[in-house]
Subunit: 337 residues, 4 copies
């Protein structure tokens, strides 16, 4: 920690700060600057959080941490890229992966037709919500267990692996029974109890970025998964909330090189939530591929205009097929397969 | 819903939209403007959400809802102010209420000394976290049930009512056994399963605004509480996330007149989280009182610099006493007691 | 500056950093921490900006400034509150000041009726835009010099001082001839050439906060005024841009205690732009007064629904009269006149 | 415009609204919905702005514009892509263009070595600031006219065209004499007087997006250029301000497909300002190319660590050469040259 004192502080007040720093287990190191005195407090910050509270002392101007707060998700902890094997499909490796499917599982017919089409177009993982978090209690909340069973059926018929959202600790076992990857949604990105419950199932966890989550907070939320002995963590950028109104969210593609630099875990991009507009999905996918993403998570529906949730951002089966073709040269340019 | 068509659309494409509108249960009403054709779709939007997906049709430029999506929290549903009686302390009535106490319950001594001091200074409700949501898994996570028992003890000794945070569905019964008000934290503001679990305990619920939650989403999250037959809902503004760095969050005091206008539920202001700086708390409180808040939620600690969490934003017992005195003329000016 | 090196850096790379620090005129001070080495670079940061570029070196993790970058606007430079005397009305002193008037000067009748009404209700300064910055080139751009002449006439007839916006360097002399205070609008808050031109007229300058300006940037923009030998600077908060849609902007009232703490210059609140809704203005004004603002800047129009700009946020003459009455007890509670 | 009335409004109040709508030159069209009455006001909104002020009437709930407010920048006005020919280099055509050079012109040696290196690597346009807008008045403000003369020299020696920033109306003629493209910086993006002055020089104008500018506002600011009879407008995305701290700004690459959809003008991406970190520039460039940008604007410096401004975001000559090579397959994949 770096503790900066206010200008013109009495010696006595400085000594009080030094005493407190020692009391909290750090070794203080004083530097006298032109206007201000700066104290370096040497010690392991991850286990000495309380030092930050010195900022409430009247003689202290600022307290700045030096160490990064995450350990297990950090590239320092694991220099190579982590890979996650999901029914033979490796996420984070040389092969680029595509997860696709409807926002919500609505019916057997809707799901099967989508699953077959996305498998044929080259996707390897099927997405589909059985439990849906909805802004309003009056909106469709998902088919629940029946939706999970339909996902299971689609898996058996197409060979696709399955990713679906977990939104209650109480469903963790149930959802893990059917899913190959558990998705933690943006509104639960800092629901730490849910992260722990997901981690404990042992299934890989895809952690979406919260609506206005700083990258550091996202890495720390991921730390909850790894610290609970689940190493199948992947991050998923899906846009952050800004003032812009032409898009539902602002997809922050800079997260791709940053997550690659800070962490060993794979990074997945969700352009459907990111833009909230089907007509922008193709361009977003190209950018994500070019920038080094490991996988895409795309909403696909046989008839978007009749979808029970988020129709505006789902692409049709035909548009998905075209998209997969259009992505090929970019996947090659990015050195992926 | 108002459906705007793109300019120069063929008759056939317009007819397809009209047909779909009818199919979804609305009555279409066509208006031809200077450049664009606008269709009013008449019907109850709260039960016909899917119309919004028309925006994915190529001939449609925009779809705008007309009705407000919340019902039970709305002032339309209940013209008078709702009041919530917590052990004789009425929130939302003429008397201004103050909830105060430490960020985390740390020890019997810390809690009791704080409880006595805040009661003496005029607070009527004791706050204190027993289960703490922490950004990092390596930070102090709260005393758990032992913390709840200490809150119970403080209640018995001081007569203060107790508010504490609920952060897992699985703790709902346990926390409700000890608490008079359940607090839903900012990171769980759209954890709908938790909101339902909290509502079902029957205890009053204080719903903090999410980090980047629009007011409409906040009202809709509150709708989950009322729709689960719990009418003890109050909203709590605690700042939103912006680009500003001098404060931890930007406290949005405009929520006071807006919540009063849109809803019948009480509005509480949390200036401690809002600013993240103890030295700004007093000014924030004065503003909140003047603007018509029903209550304050203030973090108070006997020794902020040694707090186990969020020390920078907790005020000392002495500062709290002074603050309560300084607020008096503003409470009177606002026509409260 | 505090320079943090990456973990496990070779001695040679550390020496290169130390050499560069010395070359740039600082004295380095090395602290070896648990994982990282930290170097304090001692010297006057305001004249040695380039050190920050060390962050582009591969062995450097971060570079953090210690000193505040503003001097003349700082409370360190002038411990007492600055006051600005505008035709006998002192801003920043014990008397609370109200500036009021239409968004745009539209006609003699509109301006005179407003000026008389606001003067009678207790305002001391008349606002009114003669040159208007408009988002679209097709919107009303102001009456220009004719508007200035009408403001002059209103001043002569009512005794009110006049504040009006300056939006082009080329108008600086002209506008200064008529205005008692020059207003720099939110879109020009970092138009430094305009700030310099305004400062050089010698007239007091009211500097609105930019749409997404950090407080530090605002103080630094103000520094341009003081550094050009004009000490009549006041800051004006008018809301920042966020994701919220119920209000046009989010009025950040925490700027009041912060500006008071960091600077000696007066702080003015503009609730009309801040909310963008006339129905919220009264509550915002009460909050601003309670929190210690020095003045208010309120948009008032004889017939808001027929205003040529920003009608939604202007209050009527009658509403303004009521507002001035309602503010009285809060002004008294805040210890002002 | 769509005017929504509040529920349960008296007939008389509705009639008053209808009368006002007619008075303002629109033709009203009434639709009675389930709960609310909606009035479509038919007429040209771009010339009837004042209708929006109806929202200040007590019986009106909302007023929503239907038409887009921009005309000349719109794709409706010019269906094909506009191209801008700058000394034989066509921006907006099949050939992908790269503008590169230092943040600030510092010296002849610095500029010439950079110009030669970027030309050799394949850039066609040289960037370099002669007049610099700086957050603090104590920072380097640019070499001024001497910088312009150096740019001119570099142009003569390398054949590169020149882009440089215009930051004062009073410099418009001077800067236009030396520059091939005038850059309007982010802090001046809504300095409409400067936009008009730039347009009137007849030189092409590169308009950076403001720090928190909505895309609609950006298009409208561009409208000021076209409405002043200059058709050489290009838009430049350079990141918006968010809460994220790992990057200086959040580069919003979704602007590429959106600007292409809404407008005929070219779109340029500035990854240097966008990220504020040289180590992210290469990934950002790849994304921009893949998503369909027409050109890049990249900060390059022979020795970033000794740059006089923004060293952290400038790439070295060697890094730039590598970047240009790495981009080739993505440019090909995007169907450009």
């Amino acid at each position: 920690m770096i503790v900066v004192l206010k200008p013109n502080i009495a010696k006595k007040e400085e000594r009080a700060v030094l005493k407190e720093i020692r009391k909290l287990g750090y070794r203080p190191h004083v530097m006298r600057g032109v206007e201000r005195t700066v104290i370096g407090a040497i010690g392991d910050e991850r286990t000495h959080q309380t030092l930050e509270t010195l900022v409430s002392w009247p003689q202290v101007e600022s307290v700045t941490p030096i160490q990064k707060r995450y350990k297990l998700v950090s590239r320092d902890a694991h220099a190579a890229n982590s890979t996650i094997n999901v029914r033979g499909n490796v996420i984070g490796g040389k092969k680029f992966q595509v997860m696709a499917g409807p926002c919500s599982v609505e019916s057997e017919k809707q799901l099967m037709s989508t699953a077959e089409a996305v498998a044929k177009a080259g996707a390897t993982i099927l997405r589909g919500g059985a439990f849906k978090p909805r802004t309003s209690p009056y909106e469709f909340q998902g088919l629940g267990e029946r939706g999970l069973k339909l996902l299971d059926k689609a898996r058996r018929e197409t060979g696709l692996a399955v990713i679906t959202e977990l939104l209650s600790e109480q469903h963790a076992e149930l959802v893990a029974e059917y899913a190959d990857i558990l998705q933690i949604g943006t509104r639960n990105a800092q629901n730490f109890q849910l992260l722990i419950a997901a981690a404990k199932t042992g299934k890989p966890v895809l952690l979406k970025r919260g609506l206005s989550m700083r990258i550091e907070e996202w890495l720390l939320a991921g730390e909850y998964v790894l610290a609970n002995e689940n190493c199948g963590l992947m991050f998923c950028e899906r846009g952050v909330r800004t003032f812009e109104t032409y898009t539902r969210n602002t997809l922050d593609l800079s997260t791709i090189p940053i997550i690659k630099q800070e962490s060993h875990c794979p990074i997945v991009i969700d352009p459907s939530q990111g833009a909230g507009r089907a007509d922008l999905v193709a361009a977003m996918c190209k950018g994500a591929v070019a920038m080094g993403a490991d996988a895409l998570l795309i909403e696909v529906h046989p008839n978007p205009a009749e979808a029970w949730s988020d129709g505006a951002q789902q692409v049709s089966l035909e548009a998905f097929r075209r998209l997969m073709n259009d992505l090929r040269p970019f996947i090659a340019a990015a050195g992926r397969e």
